[in-house]
Each structure stands twice: as C-alpha cells, then as structure tokens.
C-alpha cells in the first residue's frame, strides 16, 4: 500500500478527530462507528499533564558533577561507554548546582564537608532528588569513626545505593529506581516526601491577585 506523506496523514488524523469525512485514498476515511473508535484508540495516546511532565523529568536527570572518594570513579564509569547512562538520558553532568536536579553523594562525607554539600543541595532548583552512593554516606561503612557523618543526617536521600564502592551497574540500577519513583509520584517535592513542610528558610511568595475582568480592575483601583 502506498503511504501518504506525513503532512497528509496528519491532516487526515486531525479531520478524523473532528468527525468530518476525509476524502482521498486513505482507508481510515471510510471507517464508521466502533471501527473508527478502535482506529483512533490505536493511534492516539491520552494521559495527564502531570504524568507527561514526570515522564520527561524522569528521563532527563541532570546530575551534579561532583564526587568525594572512590565511589566517584565508579560514577564516572556509569557515564562511560560500557554502562552509558546516556541511554536513559542521565548523562548531562552539570558543573553548577543551579542547572542540576539530582545530587549523587558519591563517597565519604566528613563533618566539615557536610555543610558544603547541604549548601549545594539548597542551591539546586526544585524538583530535586538525592542519591546516596556507597556504604560511607549511607551507614559510614568502614570509616565508622569521628570524622564522618551519614548523608541522611543533613539532607533527604531518596535512593541508597549499597556497595563499597557500588559497581556502575548498581548506580545505574539506583537511578532507574529513582526514575520509577519520579514516575509514580509525579508532583511530590522533597518536603512532601519527607514531611518537612514548614522548614523553608524564607517564606514562600504569595501569589499576587491578578485582575481578570474590567470590574475587578475598577475594584482594585478604587
């Protein structure tokens, strides 16, 4: 069967959705009733905006490019050609927290480093997620001593990746788990996920009342 050019196909589809008849050699133009419904259902996907946004977000994490110890080496390998997390859209490691939405705490966090990491996390824009990679920043691992602090103590962690250090596969699995989480809970910020509402350092801006009708304009000016 000779296929229509794309432009003609899309015009046909638009007409069909409007319910008007289609002229031309396209077979679907002659469909009626349940057959037409089935035809449309096979070709048109409906979803909610939230789900679409979550789908887009979860397939394009921008991780913050920083590492603290040997885990960082494995993190680089996850971006390398063998594991290649670019397949899933996670390869754009950003140098600035302003551009990142995922922080991978890869390595051991000393007490002196913790406030700096918290600051980086605070600088990231919402929505944002955190992965604690390796034993040190999850349970302090072999460095269970005076110098270290687990990541849960100073920021909300969404996924813990165990291992010492975890292999790149494990990190990739962790990121895919996070993708699942984002797709399942589309519009939850970290404050909602962790029950931390009300901990904002600055008060949230209240939305200004925007007049929508001439009468409202007059009321505001009066």
């Amino acid at each position: 069967m000779k296929r229509d050019p794309m432009r003609v196909q899309s015009l046909n589809a638009a007409q069909m959705l409007r319910g008007s008849a289609i002229s031309g050699p396209n077979q679907s133009a002659h469909l009626e009733g349940t057959e037409l419904e089935r035809y449309v259902q096979e070709r048109v996907l409906t979803t909610t905006l939230d789900k679409t946004v979550a789908w887009a977000r979860s397939n394009s994490f921008f991780p913050l490019g920083f590492g603290l110890a040997c885990c960082a080496m494995e993190q680089f390998h996850a971006a390398g050609p063998r594991m290649d997390i670019a397949r899933f859209g996670f390869e754009a490691f950003r140098a600035s927290p302003r551009q990142a939405d995922l922080i991978i705490i890869a390595g051991r966090v000393s007490i002196k480093m913790a406030p700096i990491i918290r600051r980086l996390y605070d600088q990231m824009l919402e929505p944002k997620w955190a992965i604690s990679m390796g034993a040190c920043c999850s349970s302090m691992g072999v460095f269970n001593n005076y110098a270290l602090v687990p990541a849960d103590k100073f920021l909300p962690v969404d996924v813990h990746v165990p291992g010492c250090p975890p292999r790149p596969e494990a990190l990739m699995h962790g990121i895919l788990k996070l993708r699942k989480l984002v797709q399942d809970d589309p519009d939850m910020g970290w404050r909602e996920r962790y029950g931390a509402v009300g901990t904002e350092e600055a008060p949230l801006p209240t939305s200004p009342v925007v007049p929508t009708s001439p009468r409202e304009h007059e009321e505001r000016d009066a």
């Binding site: 007490i111 002196k112 999850s138 349970s139 302090m140 269970n144 001593n145 005076y146 110098a147 270290l148 602090v149 687990p150 103590k153």
Partner: protein, 165 residues
Amino acid sequence: MPDATGLELLAKELGDAALETVYYRSRATVLVDPAQIRAVLAKLRGQGYAFLASVHGVDHYPEEPRLGVVYELLDMSRVDRVAVKLRVPTDAPRVESVTADWPTANHQEREIFDMFGVVFEGHPDLRRILMPEDYEGHPQRRDFPIGGEPVIFTRDEAKWLEARE
C-alpha cells in the same frame, strides 16, 4: 642511625634532660624531660640533626603519663636519624612549642593539639586544624568512643525504638 654507643654519647651530651635511651632494631630513641624539649632539640641541631622530619602524637592509654609527643630528627649529611620522645599526663598536657626554632612544627603541633589535646605553649596560632572549630573532644585519644552517629537500618529499627523508650 647512631649505634647503641653513639646513642649513649648523644644522651650524655643532653645531660639530665635525657631520662632514658632505647636502642631497638637499629632505631635510636631518647626519652627526654618535657620541660626541656626546646633546649634538647637545639642541642641536637648543634650535633648535626638539623632537619625535623616529623612531629607526632601518641596515646599510651592506660599507661601514665598517657600522652606522648615524638620528634623525628634527621641529619642530612650523614643520613642519620634519632627520635626524641616525651610524655605528659592528660591532666596537664603542656609542652613548650618548638615552632619558633622549627617552622615545620607549626601545623604538626596543631594537629597533635587537635587529635590528642596536647597544648603547645608559645605556639603562634594553636587552633584545630582538621576537625571543625566547634568540635568537642580529641578524637585520636584511645578512650574516645569509636563510631559516630548510630545508623538505624530498617531491619533493626524496632530494636532501636525499643531501646530509646
């Protein structure tokens, strides 16, 4: 290294400051009076030991006096080493700083202060160097508790909550 006889001669030079000499596995060590450490190091520098390779702290818990400071001296021309040790008790851990004579001791004495709590008198800037400024305690002391914050795993969360009550 000075041999065993050489170490005795060196100790004789130091007079009553030298409390004990140990020669073990071709390693020469002099235990000295903490009050005279600066004079001892100055004398040894006159003997040719002109390079202070390292200053470090030791905790000899439960022996008394507990805290030790070790000065590793090196004679560069003869490639000859001697270790000078001193011991101070924890209730008065005070040693005279040698930073004025050996600038390299500056950061190393700060580290010993940070980790063991030995106070070096006359040090130009005795602050913590590794731990945060507001940290409490001296973590390399052997009676410092091992392990930091307790980690609550999901599998023994109930146990922790029980223990808290």
